[in-house]
Symmetry: C2
Subunit: 320 residues, 2 copies
């Protein structure tokens, strides 16, 4: 059964006049006659009585007319629901975030929620590596992860700042990582932030030192408290610095001493809801003047278009 025919039938059932109904349907009268005839054949009974005195519904026609409106309405409803979902106005979006949540992310999510109230935002706290797995398995759509990311993800760098060396007041003689020697390093929980751990290890190796890992803590503030207590040194992003603990900070003269976070998604993503979110993120980023963010220098040359994936996203935003 064709919905077109059914609609024509409904109009004709209202008009009870082939000519008028055909005009309303932007159709010629023979075409409408044919459609109705087809429907009648499908049902196996006449739907209209074509008398000299006019066109009237038969009993079967009346039954169908009663149902047709409802059916057509449901059809439209189904269609428009699918369309809304297709425009990314309804649905669910899974967003992951790691330990380092910058203020940008909540702002973006608030903006997205306001713009697309029909999308259920599912926020999940998980380490970068897990996020990448979850993205691959479609348990997540967007991940706020530490950079760099594997090649099958496209990434939009969101923030980046230098790592600084935090030293107890008693260790003022240490000028940089190269001087750490036996000074224990207090780092974040390895299971949660494998990539930071690896990065720090690589950094130490670059300076030809391999300090012992003293403790793995859940947050930077805890690490700094331990540093203040003299338990060891730590590497923290510049923004985590606290001036009230008597800690000594040293800049690190090495390109890899960069703490970068980006939004990652499956390369080639085409779920409209996800694209909408990215658009949202993009505008939020451009609304936030670059000067207020840490300078961006993405490890993998910042966000490349990655095979022209997102059709409408302009990655050039970050060329400044």
């Amino acid at each position: 059964m064709d919905f077109r025919c059914l609609n024509s039938f409904a109009v004709l059932a209202n008009q009870l006049h082939f000519g008028r109904a055909a005009t309303l349907l932007h159709l010629s009268q023979p075409a409408l006659s044919k459609q109705i005839r087809k429907l009648e054949e499908e049902i196996g009974a006449a739907l209209f009585r074509r008398d000299s005195s006019g066109t009237t519904l038969t009993a079967a026609g009346a039954v169908l007319a009663r149902d047709a409106g409802d059916l057509l309405a449901r059809c439209q409803e189904t269609l428009s629901r699918a369309r809304r979902a297709g425009r990314g106005e309804t649905g669910t979006i899974g967003i992951g975030f790691g330990i380092a949540t910058y203020d940008l992310m909540p702002r973006v999510i608030a903006r997205f929620r306001a713009l697309y109230p029909g999308i259920q935002v599912s926020l999940r706290d998980m380490p970068s590596v897990e996020q990448v797995d979850a993205l691959r398995a479609r348990r997540l759509d967007i991940g706020f992860v530490r950079l760099p990311t594997p090649a099958d993800m496209t990434v939009l760098p969101v923030a980046s700042e230098r790592l600084v060396l935090a030293l107890p007041a008693a260790a003022a003689d240490i000028a940089g990582i190269g001087d750490l020697r036996a000074m224990p390093l207090i780092l974040l929980d390895r299971r949660r932030t494998q990539s930071v751990f690896d990065q720090v290890m690589a950094l130490c190796a670059a300076f030809h030192v391999s300090p012992p890992i003293q403790q793995e803590v859940p947050e930077f503030s805890t690490a700094l408290a331990l540093v203040a207590s003299g338990a060891g040194a730590s590497l923290v992003p510049r923004s985590a610095k606290r001036d009230d603990l008597g800690i000594i900070y040293r800049d690190i003269d090495h390109a890899a001493a960069e703490w970068s976070v980006g939004a990652a998604w499956r390369t080639g993503e085409c779920e409209p809801a996800v694209l909408n979110f990215l658009r949202c993120l993009e505008t939020e980023l451009s609304a936030c003047p670059a000067g207020q963010r840490s300078h961006l220098r993405g490890p993998r040359g910042a966000a490349a278009p990655a095979g022209g994936a997102g059709p409408t996203l302009r990655y050039q935003l970050f060329s400044d």
Copy 2:
């Protein structure tokens, strides 16, 4: 939106495999691809993700898949309801009956109700002339009326019997209508049985008498009671005769002294429910041996096919 495409979509959404789904749908894989593509264009978004790793639903596809099954089911329901109505298995049938209800009619209706429990039978008691009007206005579908009927009705004679002259015991000298002279005639209520009244008048005119109308009564039994009391004569069908009142009955030697009843319907009727009823009536009539019914001699040459109206009804049943 095409129902066909939607169904293909539903199957593909289950199978998640174009080739298999196409086989199930008895069409080739490119055809299915085309159908899905058409649907996707209509919705304005991809419904499936065609990865190297397989075919999966997009968010929009999942939304549509959830609704599609329901919509298709409703569509089938609507269709089959219309089909049932088209076969005359559901709906309403209006049946009229006059003062002369023969036992055949209840039997036919009982049979019809048993055979088509989905049809609501609306029985209405009304005089023949009103029945004919109601039939024309479609307020009635079948009328059990006195014959003859107007030309735009087709009729199936159901019963016919001779009228007899009923005389008070004191009027034994009257041999027939021609002798009535001033003897009052007790007839049925004219408003209810105009045609009988007219017939009797015509009969009197044929015998060159015009007896006064003494009383118009609601039923034959009342008329006979009045005859027995000596109030006048009456004309009643032979079956209405009562032997316990001392009434004298005289046969009437005239062709028009016939009391005929038939089922009438609009010539050219094509409502399946009505045709089903007529079929029912037909079988009931043939089940009842002709001998048990009064001999048929319909005033208008019995039931003529009347323009080949009822396609499957065999009017020849009454050719005996």
